[in-house]
């Protein structure tokens, strides 16, 4: 489980961008392409290696209602498993 004080970021070689052809956000990395859903995009856009998970939850709560820390942790865990996101800090 990713701790609330850990700081996630996109791994080196991973880019989050917007595809004008599909009109959708895309995650580009060496092994492939993933089309993250709106929730994942909102989380990934805040993964800068500076903000902690707790701070990401706070930032999201400014825009969305009912943001739960477990949901953010789950989204991040999924991307850690895919070698898209890495977490800094104990």
């Amino acid at each position: 489980m990713i701790g609330v004080e850990q700081r996630p970021r996109l791994r080196r070689g991973v880019r989050l961008s917007f595809d004008r052809v599909r009109q959708a956000h895309v995650l580009l990395f060496p092994e492939g392409v993933v089309m993250p859903n709106a929730t994942a995009v909102a989380v990934l856009e805040l993964c800068d290696g500076e903000r902690t998970v707790a701070e990401i939850v706070t930032a999201l709560s400014g825009t969305y209602s009912g943001v739960r820390v477990e949901d953010v942790q789950n989204v991040l865990a999924r991307f850690v498993e895919r070698h898209v996101v890495e977490v800094l800090g104990g």
Binding site: G13, L28, P30
Partner: protein
């Protein structure tokens, strides 16, 4: 037929010229000469068309892509379109200034091949003295700071070096290591007897890979692929024919899979005279094995038909002469005996290799 999805990836084989002569080269037996290669403008047009079509990932490959003097322009163009740009290279000629320029222009990732863990082993398989150039390239990659995947094709001659290959990739600073057993098409099919690892080699490799995968988790990802001859089910080749990726050969021929020239009954189209979108959506070659309608039994009624898509069309053609047959690797294929026979006929001693012909200048 279900609606055809837009492609995600383009494998751009910029040239067949290469300083290496690996006996399992994925390029066809009949190599395309330099005079037949697309021009810079034509490649830029291919990239424009690919991006309009939906391609997001561009693998600049060959042969050796560094053999093209216009590689920097092609990189800039691909990245300018927003594509993720992967350079697939032998490393020969990849110096720090040259790489720094390419990264500045937009290379996102480098895939560097290693033929073996030692200079002697590497150079014997590459058929050229290139190991020291690869080390220089790896140093450049670390210095410039671009993510690296080391890629090694495994076979009978280097399967025993797996632990050394893992250690080497680690030392070179790779984020990923692909250890993929030879797929038997083209040159590799010609050399299959000499290349196929023994059961003992595969058994010895398994615990080494497992231990290293656990030990290096989070540092270096290891992707280990065993040749599918030993499997009960075929690989989901290309995630389905004409489903996600297309390959453009040096002369502009568009292939539904990189090995598709093996299927001599296929009528291939070219970007020289046909728009890429028309080829992707409407050509006979891309529609030949799309979806599941083309399947015959045992695939047609198989619950796995959307999982492995009937396996590999090239393998079906090469082993049975019928590209629409069930991949003979499948345990349900009436031709599985062909594969078992090949597995049973492994030589006791090493067999001589036929090296790939030099790419014509």
């Amino acid at each position: 037929m279900a609606e055809v999805a837009a492609p995600l990836g383009l494998l751009a084989e910029l040239t067949h010229r290469c300083p290496l002569h690996c006996p399992y080269c994925s390029n066809p037996l009949e190599l395309i000469a330099r005079q037949q290669e697309l021009s810079t403008e034509q490649w830029c047009s291919v990239l424009d068309q690919a991006r309009d079509l939906g391609v997001l990932q561009v693998h600049l490959s060959g042969g050796e892509p560094l053999a093209r003097n216009d590689l920097p322009e092609i990189v800039s163009h691909a990245r300018g379109l927003g594509c993720y740009v992967n350079l697939v290279t032998s490393g020969v000629g990849l110096t720090t200034p040259r790489l720094a320029d390419l990264v500045e222009r937009g290379i996102d990732h480098v895939q560097l091949s290693l033929q073996g863990a030692s200079e002697a082993g590497n150079d014997a398989i590459a058929g050229a003295r290139v190991f020291k150039h690869k080390l220089i390239a790896a140093e450049a990659i670390a210095e410039v700071g671009v993510p690296l995947t080391v890629n090694t094709v495994l076979h009978r001659r280097n399967h025993g070096e797996i632990a050394d290959l893992i250690a080497t990739a680690e030392r070179l600073g790779a984020e990923r290591l692909e250890l993929a057993n030879t797929q038997y098409y083209g040159w590799a099919l010609r050399n299959r007897t000499a290349l196929m690892p023994t059961r003992e080699q595969l058994d010895a490799a398994e615990p080494i890979v497992r231990e290293a995968t656990e030990r290096l988790a989070g540092k270096m990802q290891i992707v280990y692929v065993v040749a599918d001859y030993a499997d009960a089910h075929p690989k989901p080749c290309m995630h389905g024919w004409g489903a996600r990726q297309l390959t453009v050969a040096p002369d502009g021929t568009v292939l539904p899979c990189p090995a598709a020239t093996a299927i001599t009954t296929l009528e291939l189209s070219s970007v020289v005279d046909t728009p890429l979108a028309e080829i992707w959506y409407s050509s006979s070659s891309f529609n030949a094995f799309r979806g599941t309608e083309w399947m015959s039994e045992p695939c047609r009624s198989c619950p796995r038909k959307e999982t492995d898509f009937g396996g590999c069309r090239c393998q079906a053609f090469l082993l049975t002469g019928d590209a629409a047959a069930t991949d003979p690797v499948c345990s349900l294929s009436p031709n599985r005996g062909l594969v078992d026979e090949i597995l049973a006929q492994q030589p006791v001693v090493d067999v001589e290799l036929t090296m790939r012909a030099p790419g014509r200048a």
